[in-house]
């Protein structure tokens, strides 16, 4: 397979890091399985309004909490609502909050941290003091304020969470950049005449992808749980709507009588997080040319 690498001298083509990463990721079966599971979950979440077996809000108090059966595969909750349907609808909220809030955190955090770390001096001090101030601000007050000013909406909730989570990302990235910019290849890029932005995008960020990806795979679950916490306080989404976090927290309350109300949502969340971790590990390895030879 690898013998075919001899290229005719006139048709040399460079590989970009990303093309290589895709090739390498494809060879990682665990990561591909994770990607597949996440993909299926996202497709189901998108199609839920059309494929869900029951309505998520119509209660059937006669039925009450019933264990899994042929009619209700995963059973029903205390109001007689189909659990499978509620998990599917919950997935829409949880996946969206996980990915949107983390993406927001990722972009702000990476650029903020990279610019602060690379520029250094006063800019760095100013940008990081701002981060410190935001850290110190009680995050609940911040979110309640946002809700009061802009009204309650799910999208705002996503943004609010993202705006809180980027702080840690910025700190991690800045720390990495501080040590990276001492490296000679960054100095060589300066000596070459590259602009600071080009150096950050082409030379610095690709070299800190490892820690970034690890942090992202940690952030997504914590964001999902944060949403459950906010919803529990009445700041997030409200019943009869659902999210995985909410389902789990209700499940915990009724764990002794109706264990399936905890087991199934918990299982779905765990599978999602496992898939994310496998994908994250796979991406980290795929983006590092040193980890594999082909």
């Amino acid at each position: 397979m690898s013998i075919k690498q001899i290229v005719p001298a006139d048709v040399v083509q460079g590989r970009s890091l990303w093309q290589d990463a895709v090739t390498r990721l494809r060879k990682n079966h665990l990561a591909m399985a994770g990607l597949l599971i996440l993909g299926v979950m996202i497709v189901i979440a998108l199609l839920t309004p059309w494929i869900a077996p029951y309505s998520y809000e119509v209660q059937n108090l006669d039925l009450g909490a019933s264990p899994p059966s042929m009619d209700h595969w995963l059973g029903t909750d205390t109001f007689g609502r189909d659990l499978l349907t509620r998990i599917m609808y919950g997935g829409r909220v949880s996946l969206a909050v996980g990915f949107i809030a983390t993406t927001v955190a990722l972009f702000i955090g990476v650029f903020w941290g990279a610019i602060a770390g690379y520029t250094g001096g006063r800019t760095d001090a100013f940008m990081m003091r701002l981060v410190d101030i935001l850290y110190a601000l009680p995050f609940m007050i911040f979110i309640i304020l946002l809700m009061v000013v802009f009204g309650r909406s799910i999208l705002l909730l996503f943004l609010a969470i993202g705006c809180v989570e980027w702080l840690t990302m910025a700190r991690i990235v800045r720390g990495q950049v501080l040590s990276l910019r001492q490296q000679e290849f960054v100095e060589a890029a300066v000596a070459m005449g590259l602009s600071p932005l080009a150096i950050i995008v082409r030379h610095i960020i690709p070299n800190i992808l490892g820690p970034i990806i690890v942090y992202v795979t940690l952030t997504i679950p914590s964001v999902m749980l944060l949403e459950a916490f906010l919803s529990f306080l009445g700041l997030g989404i409200q019943p009869p709507q659902s999210s995985w976090g909410l389902l789990i927290s209700y499940g915990v309350e009724t764990m002794e009588e109706y264990p399936w109300l905890l087991i199934y949502p918990g299982l779905v969340l765990s599978v999602t997080l496992f898939s994310l971790n496998f994908l994250g590990d796979g991406l980290r390895d795929a983006l590092d040319p040193k980890t594999s030879k082909d």
């Binding site: 460079g14 000679e184 070459m192 005449g193």
Partner: protein, 543 residues
């Protein structure tokens, strides 16, 4: 009587790319009071063969396949962990290459020394402290008791290596293994450390295994030499015999690669026309760093890293810049190409002042002034393929159609002696010498007029170093380049450079034709530096 007797030692490493035979069936003896040098290039197995003795190689991936190493009547390769611990650091001591990292920065020198003693014997702590202080004085650190209270960062590199030697001597070992102990040190410090090892050996009759890649060092210190290549001992004998009746082809190559002559005539700079305007003119250049140890309200103190320097560089000339670590030669070279801003003075490139250029002017300047760094492992972005590394400067400064750029990249690869088929590989897939070639190709990509080379060969093996030096000579000739060549290695400077500037504490103390500097040094510092060069190799016929 032999202290150590190694028989048929074989070490393999099981990596994902297959089995690597790091050490292949080697046998040798070390006698009491003898200095045995193991010479070889990186990857020759010289370090692995010694680390294996003390069970210091990671297993897996490493595995000692076979062999015996008798230290007295104990077989080091087949003894249990407890026995090993009682020998390690006690009967056999080791000194490592980098004194900056081999001491624990959070412990005082004293507690680190005492720890060695208390680990290996039931000695009283007070007595141990006294003994530690004694040994410190022994290795030339005066005021031992007081120095014990200090932390490693309060010692210079040479001093730390002395501390390491003191630590090794504490337990009165029978065998000392020194793994490139002076490679990270300046030449004058290196000479002092050799002196010290000499005295100590005579005094205590310690056997020393000295691992090095530097033949000049061997000539000065060793009684016997083992030459290793690819895991095998290719030649061994007394030092005299190795140098005077070299048998193996590889040893001959090693000896020939030592730059101990002048560069060939056709590469020398010839231009007696003094009226020619230098391509680079540095005058009264000063670069300062703020001293952070001053308080908030005190007036800021500055440290002149580069202090009122005057230099010029003619077209097609190689100017050597030599000095010890911390003398400001790297700062000077980075100031010249404006990676660091100067404080005072001027740098003129082709008559144009460049210290005041704005970012746009600077971008143009980058085309003409390029830099090559010391460490080819750190100076290439590990996440970019060679193609991308070379494409980047081309795209930035000479945008053209893609096939033209590709053409140019292939030319560059040819020019620095790399195969264009390797273009898709990443830096870690190349050896150190090849990486330095990539770094040179990157600097050449924009067709610069001046290249500042900051210790470009110090991280390379001697045979690779010779190849890279020749590459420099050819490129200078072909492209009419001018080079400022920074190095602490005097023999490299002597071989390569037309003129040499000697730097000390931020100042240029002497600058003249290279041969004049070496044969008739005027300044006291230059004289000291040249006296410290390891003595010439006994046999000159190879030169």
């Amino acid at each position: 009587m032999s202290v150590l007797s190694i028989k048929n030692l074989t070490v393999n490493f099981y990596t994902r790319d297959g089995i690597v035979n790091a050490v292949k069936d080697i046998s040798y003896d070390v006698n009491a009071g003898e200095v045995v040098a193991i010479v070889g290039e990186s990857g020759s197995g010289k370090s692995v063969s010694c680390h294996a003795l003390l069970d210091l190689i990671a297993q897996p991936p490493g595995k000692i396949e076979s062999g015996h190493a008798y230290f007295g009547d104990i077989d080091l390769l087949n003894c249990d962990k407890r026995q090993m611990r009682s020998i390690r650091g006690n009967k056999i001591a080791m000194i490592f290459q980098d004194p900056m990292t081999s001491l624990n920065p959070y412990m005082t020198i004293g507690s680190q020394l005492v720890e060695v003693l208390t680990t290996h014997s039931d000695i009283d702590k007070k007595l141990a402290t006294l003994k530690a202080a004694n040994v410190l004085e022994e290795v030339g650190i005066s005021d031992g008791i007081k120095r014990l209270e200090q932390y490693p960062h309060e010692f210079s590199g040479g001093m730390r290596q002395r501390v390491m030697i003191a630590m090794a001597l504490l337990t009165e070992p029978e065998l000392l293994i020194a793994d490139e102990p002076t490679t990270a040190l300046d030449v004058t410090i290196q000479a002092q450390i050799f002196e010290l090892l000499h005295t100590l050996r005579k005094k205590y009759n310690i056997a020393i295994i000295f691992i090095t890649h530097d033949l000049a060092v061997v000539a000065q210190l060793a009684d016997r030499v083992l030459v290793m290549k690819d895991g095998s001992i290719v030649e061994q004998g007394t030092t005299e015999k190795i140098f005077s009746q070299t048998e193996h082809e590889y040893t001959k190559n090693l000896l020939a690669a030592i730059p101990n002559s002048k560069k060939p005539e056709q590469y020398r700079y010839h231009n007696s026309d003094d009226s020619e305007v230098p391509i680079l003119q540095v005058s009264h250049l000063t670069t300062r760093f703020a001293d952070h140890s001053t308080g908030l309200f005190q007036e800021k103190q500055y440290l002149n890293a580069v202090d009122n320097v005057d230099l010029y560089l003619k077209k097609g000339e190689i100017l050597g810049l030599v000095g010890e670590s911390g003398c400001g030669k790297s700062t000077l070279s980075k100031t010249i190409i404006r990676l660091i801003d100067s404080h005072e003075g001027s740098v003129k490139f082709e008559g144009r002042e460049i210290t005041s250029l704005d970012s746009k002017g600077l971008k143009h300047l980058r085309q003409d002034l390029q830099i090559i760094f010391q460490d080819p492992y750190a100076s290439l972005n590990p996440r970019m393929s060679v193609y991308d590394i070379l494409l980047e400067p081309l795209k930035l400064h000479q945008p053209a159609a893609k096939n033209l750029l590709n053409q140019r990249i292939i030319e560059l690869m040819h020019e620095v002696g790399l195969s264009p088929t390797d273009i898709r590989k990443y830096p870690h897939e190349f050896s150190g010498g090849q990486r330095q070639r990539i770094a040179i190709a990157r600097a050449l990509a924009v067709a610069p007029k001046v290249i500042v080379a900051d210790e470009p060969v110090s991280a390379l093996d001697v045979t690779i170093q010779a190849q890279i030096l020749d590459l420099f000579l050819q490129l200078v000739k072909r492209h009419d380049l001018s080079i400022i060549f920074v190095s602490h290695d005097l023999s490299v400077i002597r071989y390569l450079c037309d003129r040499t500037a000697v730097m000390s504490e931020g100042k240029i103390v002497e600058v003249d034709q290279t041969e004049t500097v070496f044969n008739h040094p005027k300044h006291a510092y230059t004289q000291k530096l040249i006296a410290a060069i390891p003595s010439e190799i006994p046999n000159q016929s190879l030169a």
